[in-house]
Amino acid sequence: MPLTLQYHCSCLSSKPTPPPPHLPSSAYNFHPLHTLFFCEECDAVRCNHCVMVEVSGYYCPNCLFEVPSASVRAEKNRCARNCFLCPNCRNTLSVVPSDPPDTGDIRLSAIPVSAVGEPPFFLYCNHCRWDSAEVGITFEKPTGLAAQLQKFEDSAPESLEFERLKEHFEPFLRASSSSSPAHHPTASSHHVHTNPITAAASSAISRDVSGVAKYNPLARSRVGKDKSANKDEMPEYRSRVEIGSTSGLGGGGDVDVEFVKHLEDVSEVANLEQRWVNSWASSPRASDLKPLRIPLLSKKTKRCPTCRHILIKPEQKAQSVRYKIKLVAANYLPAIAVAVPQPSSTEVAKRSTVRSSGGGAEADKGPEGMLAGKTYPFHLSFTNPLYDPIQVRLSVQRAQYQASGEAPAPEKARRPPFAVSLPISAFPIAAFAEAWEYEDDEDMFGVEDDEMGDADVRSRDREGRSKTKTVGVLEKRANVTIVGGEVVIGKEAKGDVKFNMLVSYTYRSDDPGIDETEGTPSRTASKGPVMKTFSFYTVVDLGPIIPKEEPRPDPDL
């Protein structure tokens, strides 16, 4: 299991401290850094759970056409141009012309190398080689396919049923005040209230007055509505087709049963994956699968929930993946990576080994996890994204632990199965700058902030052998500082090594602060750069603990 370090977002809760990490439900509050945002106004971390999301535009993933939001509704969230999905493998279909007619005596090698292909055109999937001619859909022109298929789709039984349902409910929806004002306009509606005030007013007017028959000029005789009926009563809806006649279309019934009885091969039945895209029952036959229009995707704008500041704003063009506004946490919080170096690599005091094992989360561990009863050093590498140097301070949060139910005594159950030691004092991380601006300081190893180092470690040769000191600053390179810590695993420990860590960092902010009165130059100069501190919680996961094997009685005996 790889080592992870995730950041805590409190999601506007009143408690700033994160939940204990060994509980499975607390994984909801922890996120990897690349999924987090940072609001500058509130000075807080925001995650995908707490941001406000708005749609900023719709586009088709295939043709990358930006669809205006008015057409989105009209086209039922699908692409209106030539974009279709293969019903077999859900790959994109392409429009191809048919082969020239095969007169039988033309050998394939004798065809001249020139443009071949002629109408009729059909849809063809390059991945699974399904083509629409198998279901009988061909086109005369290679463009405007959606229009050519429109009449086909409109005559499908489910859309006719839906139209009838809409017409049935239309008068009730207009009359009741609880309907949303922007309900979809049907062709026959004349008073779609776009204003909630006028909608409330009209419903007040159309409320029943006792003793007076209700006058409704919009009675639909087709459904046979009673004129004096209470508007909450609805006549029975008679569907367009009998339910039993949907039998051949997957609604169950004899026709479907006959089909299943006479199946010869399982491939004749359409897959679940091919059929559940529709929200209605569709024919179970694989030969009835039709090409689907590609659903539109949306580009979203994300806002901070408290101050409504925009955190993420994508560009308007569908093909551009950049953002106009991009306030991601990675630009404000230091990126932390955790690694556990192998004992074998500590013998080799090469700088390259130090870099490679400390720089990233290397999953190169001999046994999966850590053995109970042993002590493991681990590295945390901090990358500073700011243009100013920062001072970082770490502290481990103590958590209450409960044993898994076989606790021998209550007081023992409260003790965490491992102990983590980290450097206590603050350590600096250099500012972010371009690669060529860094001095050549590869030989510099941080030797201060050595709180937990042993005495014999201090007496050892410091130059070159950085691995001998496990707790404290190990390396400072460019804008990355690698800090070592240690975890001691108890003998009876079980479960995962996960602990919450509070990271606070102090940075210089050049913001002089808001001043209501325009002070004299001397006063504004005295504000100067301010040291600001920001802290956040993280959870460090060092992997599972391999428990010590207990001597078990031999079951064979």
Binding site: C89, V96, D99, V113, C128, D265, V266, S267
Partner: protein, 208 residues
């Protein structure tokens, strides 16, 4: 094991680049194109490659059996594929990074999709116009034995056994568009025959 004796018979119209690793008894027919960095190993038995084939970079064609490995005409071996099938027909497409085991025999017009590991444990012959597609769960996963139905026009959904996350599916292509595809293949080969010698050194066979 007897030492592998190299014997390359390359047609004069074939385009075989210098940087190709050839080993064993190999015959390459007229018009075939072998890109640089391809590998053709006739370790235990000879390999006979027909005409107008296109063998792209990093393709590996290996024959570990004593019998002759026959490859027909107009096939396309895309980048990174690994073929050990003892018999391949014509107009097949073996897509990028696919693997075909020595137990499978391909007929004509078959298409093995990209990344597909076609490694059944029993001998099989793929019918004409078979399309195999999907994605395997990971390196080294194996398909179940029940890959292809024997009847014409039948395709089966092959699912992995046990815990392997395999989603390889097989179906039969209707053959529509095969003339255009053949035409495209021919144009592809023609273009390569014209362009590759301009930028790569060619290897000539010993003894034609």
């Amino acid at each position: 094991m007897p030492p592998i004796r190299d014997k390359f018979t390359i047609h004069s119209k074939a385009v075989v680049c210098q940087d190709v690793e050839l080993k064993g008894d190999i015959t390459i027919g007229s018009g075939s194109i072998v890109h640089p960095k391809a590998t053709i190993f006739a370790i235990a038995g000879p390999i006979v490659i027909g005409s107008n084939n296109i063998i792209e970079e990093s393709a590996i064609i290996v024959n570990r059996r004593k019998e002759v490995m026959r490859i027909g005409d107009d096939n396309l071996f895309e980048i990174g594929c690994r073929i050990e099938s003892p018999s391949i027909g014509s107009f097949n497409t073996l897509s990028t990074r696919c693997r075909v085991h020595h137990t499978v025999r391909l007929s004509s017009f078959c298409i093995i999709g990209a990344g597909v590991l076609l490694v059944p444990s029993t001998d099989q012959t793929l019918d004409e116009y078979t399309v195999v597609y999907g994605h395997s769960g990971g390196v080294g996963t194996h398909l179940a034995d029940s890959l292809v139905g024997e009847g014409a026009g039948a395709g089966g959904a092959g699912q992995g056994q046990g815990g392997a996350a395999v989603a390889i599916e097989t179906r039969t292509w209707s053959g529509r568009g095969k003339i255009q595809e053949a035409d495209l293949r021919r144009k592809h080969a023609e273009y390569l025959r014209e362009m590759l010698p301009k930028f790569n050194r060619l290897r000539r066979g010993d003894g034609m």
